[in-house]
């Protein structure tokens, strides 16, 4: 492997790993804040116990999200210095805003939340978890604004062949950003819901002593999961249309569509395919569906990869401008199909809830809901592969090729050392996180702190968590 391959593998692997933890953090912070709000309003100790229980899972996750996020912040300059030098004046700005506006908020108030149980009045303490949630959402906002600029650069002018920011408002209202950010936020809440549901289902299935209490969290997660995922899938579909407008290669590759079509059908599966096989066997073709997905119209036209390649060669000079078709085709399907399964699971859960008592007694549902904890990680990874691999060979669409962004001063040996080093560290902490999440997710619910049983509105002293 050469320098470019190594740098790309390292960035992809560390980013994917980082994004295992981020949506869990965003989702669980939001759900924990909801639970604590419920406790604040009704004063029932079982809600406090749930807050403390899921709060531990949240904190275990945040630790890994924070430390893997450090690597993200540094490696633009480390491995992609030519890229950083060229676009730092645009791409760096939202990153700096993220640090100042979001990271300080999230970290500081997380400390206040964890250690402030017995030091802050109840209302103020509730506000701290909401500020943690706000910080995590803001962090996603700025990084998505930066990422969307790479997908669809806006708000700049070219000066001596270099892009210069001239309209920050355009960057912050980039349509790819607005839809992409909404998609990521909803997706993170879905991830949090699935994790909370899986833990609750495990506890219900094992008939833990606190069964009754975990029904609350199961109901909360199912009740939120279904509507949020429904909207999320619609938003994702619209994002596809928007990306198709600015990055037609990305969408054409997601269907392995080499020739222009109108109207276009969608294939459920294919055998073969890839950049060297233009005529894969497509199975179960649904007429008009690709037209709908890519253009929002029944008879929409999708320009094929071959004509796009010719257009790009004419515009940008000779080269191969087709992303990895195999990755695009399957990433799109893994994401969409798995999300549909999660949606069906959610509907099943709603139906069981509607039939009153049966949620806690449906062993099949509880079994499946536990194992579905894997689903959001699959969806998230596939979704980012679709977006990022679909941008290739560009690092910034139309402005810089990925191969030109890599650091000139870094050697292949340097990259081998870091790939192996980060590989080992990331594997270790991902395993550690998974083991601790499972361990703490399976724990019996801790009893309510004795003082915590006080009536709502009364000043209560809940002991703080300590390291």
């Amino acid at each position: 492997m050469d320098k470019l391959d190594l740098a790309r593998w390292q960035f992809a692997a560390t980013s994917i790993n980082h994004f295992f933890f981020v949506p869990v953090t965003i989702g669980l912070a939001f759900l924990t804040a909801l639970l604590q709000t419920a406790w604040y309003r009704n004063g029932k100790p079982e809600y406090l116990r749930l807050v403390r229980f899921f709060g531990v899972l949240l904190v275990i996750n945040i630790a890994v999200g924070v430390v893997t996020g450090l690597v993200q912040e540094f490696q633009f300059g480390m491995s992609w210095s030519a890229y950083s030098r060229l676009v730092g004046n645009i791409f760096g700005a939202p990153l700096a805003m993220e640090g100042l506006v979001a990271f300080f908020l999230e970290s500081t108030f997380l400390g206040l939340w964890i250690f402030g149980w017995d030091k802050l009045p109840r209302g103020l303490h509730l506000a701290t978890i909401w500020l943690v949630s706000a910080g995590s959402l803001l962090s996603a906002l700025f990084i998505l604004a930066a990422n969307s600029w790479m997908q669809h650069p806006v708000g700049y002018k070219m000066v001596h062949g270099k892009p210069q920011l001239n309209d920050i408002w355009a960057v912050m209202t980039n349509p790819v950003f607005l839809w992409g950010y909404t998609h990521v936020v909803l997706d993170s809440i879905v991830t949090g819901c699935v994790v909370m549901l899986a833990v609750s289902a495990w506890q219900l299935r094992k008939g833990s002593a606190s069964k009754e209490i975990f029904r609350h969290s199961a109901r909360l997660s199912i009740g939120l999961l279904v509507p949020v995922l429904a909207v999320d899938m619609l938003v994702g579909s619209e994002l596809g249309v928007i990306e198709g407008r600015y990055q037609p290669m990305k969408i054409a590759a997601a269907e392995a569509q080499w020739q222009t079509c109108q109207p276009c059908s969608f294939s459920m599966f294919q055998i073969g395919g890839g950049n060297n096989d233009h005529t894969p066997t497509q199975i179960i073709e649904i007429p008009h569906l690709l037209s709908l997905l890519a253009t929002n119209s029944w008879n929409g036209k999708v320009v094929g990869l071959t004509p796009l390649q010719n257009q790009y060669s004419a515009k940008y000079g000779p080269g191969n401008y087709v992303p990895n078709v195999f990755v695009q085709y399957w990433a799109m399907r893994v994401m969409a199909y798995t999300a549909s399964l999660v949606f069906l699971l959610g509907l099943w859960g709603l139906w069981l809830m509607w039939r009153r008592k049966s949620l806690a007694n449906s062993r099949w549902f509880l079994f499946l809901a536990t194992w579905f904890v894997i689903a959001p990680f699959l969806i998230n990874t596939a979704g980012w592969l679709l977006t990022e691999s679909g941008r290739q060979p560009w690092v910034v669409q139309g402005i810089m090729l990925t191969k030109n962004g890599v650091s000139p001063s870094v050697t292949t040996t340097d990259l081998w050392i870091s790939v192996v080093g980060f590989g080992l560290i990331y594997t270790a902490i991902a395993l550690l996180d998974a083991v601790l999440m499972v361990r703490y997710g399976r724990r019996e619910l801790a009893p309510a702190p004795s003082e915590g049983t006080a009536e709502a509105g009364q000043q209560v002293r809940v002991p703080s968590v300590l390291y």
Partner: protein
């Protein structure tokens, strides 16, 4: 002051903020094993920084991101040039960060010893490596006409850089020991105070050596300037104050020493940001690495709005957690 100068100053201030705040929690991380005699003692030491370290570390992220936005050329050359050193730094930060959260998650001695070791090692490496890097900026590194680093990992390990790293580690130790003395009670506080009393004069002498060496490199005589004199004297004053039982004032003194040391590094650099040992014509300066004016204006507005807010809630956090931590509390908490 131009916007470019303002952003250099701001980045110097953010680095200073990082070393002043994270500096004491790095020191606590290094010393928790030495000062805490048993597990409860070590836990008490860690809990003095429990709610604070994560927010403190954000100063590092903001420093890097501000360099990225305001001086992309500096960020690009420095971060790619220091590649392997930064891999090591990130490993140290990761080890440290997860140790806080995961140390208490299993109740076995070997589990805790592992994370104690990672916390100590990580806490030493972080200021050492950043110190080496800052020293290298001043001393000069092989950089060519297109602002690319042309050396290898070994070029980074020059004596002056290493000594800068050691100097910062020494100040972090004293700063951290003073913080433990200030934020705990009983034996733990006494041991922190004793270590600070003995350590501060040593750190003062180390710092004086750094000042003289720095002046020798710059070729402007060995006499320290007033800022550097105050930094060195603050460490001696710190030793005296803590010996006298005035822990709050002692902590103020180590804060001053840390802040002035880091600011000295940046004022020595100015208006350069990375010195080229290949040719002074290739030096990176604030002018040939800065972002265009529009970006700096936008960022200035953001900073003007949000930095005061951040400072306000950070100060409030320190107020909320002003109470000292006692080993007895820790024992009561874990039901021993």
């Amino acid at each position: 002051m131009t916007l470019v100068q303002f952003w250099f100053l701001l980045i110097a201030v953010v680095w200073t903020g990082f070393f002043v705040l994270e500096g004491f929690d790095l020191g606590v991380g290094m010393l928790h094993g030495v000062l805490g005699q048993d597990d409860a003692g070590r836990r008490a030491a860690i809990n003095t920084i429990g709610p604070l370290w994560d927010g403190n570390e954000v100063w590092l992220i903001v420093a890097a991101a501000a360099m990225f936005a305001a001086f992309p050329g500096w960020y690009a050359t420095m971060f790619s040039g220091f590649y392997l050193a930064l891999v090591l730094l990130l490993a140290a930060l990761i080890a440290r960060g997860i140790s806080f959260e995961y140390r208490g998650k299993r109740d076995t001695a070997s589990w805790r010893r592992t994370f104690d070791g990672l916390l100590t090692g990580g806490s030493v490496l972080v200021p050492l490596l950043i110190g080496v890097a800052l020293g290298d900026l001043l001393h000069g590194l092989p950089i060519n006409a297109s602002q690319e680093y042309t050396g290898s990992f070994w070029n980074l390990l020059q004596p002056y850089g290493l000594y800068t790293g050691i100097t910062l580690v020494a100040i972090c130790v004293v700063h951290g020991a003073t913080f433990i003395a200030l934020k705990s009670v009983g034996d733990l506080s006494v041991r922190g105070a004793n270590l600070a009393t003995r350590g501060a004069p040593v750190a003062g002498i180390v710092l004086l050596g750094w000042v003289i060496w720095t002046h020798a490199i710059a070729g402007k005589g060995v006499l320290p300037n007033p800022v550097e004199v105050i930094a060195v004297l603050a460490l001696f004053a710190g030793a005296w104050l803590i010996h006298d039982g005035r822990q709050g004032w002692a902590f103020a003194a180590t804060t001053v020493a840390m802040a002035l040391t880091v600011l000295s590094i940046f004022s020595e650099l100015y208006p350069r940001v990375m010195i080229s040992s290949t040719s002074s014509a290739y030096n990176l300066t604030i002018h040939n690495t800065a972002s265009p004016g529009y970006t700096l204006k936008v960022m200035t507005v953001i900073v003007a709005i949000f930095l005061p807010v951040v400072l306000a809630y950070t100060a409030w956090t320190y107020y909320v957690f002003r109470r000292r931590i006692s080993v007895t509390d820790i024992r009561a908490h874990s039901g021993e």
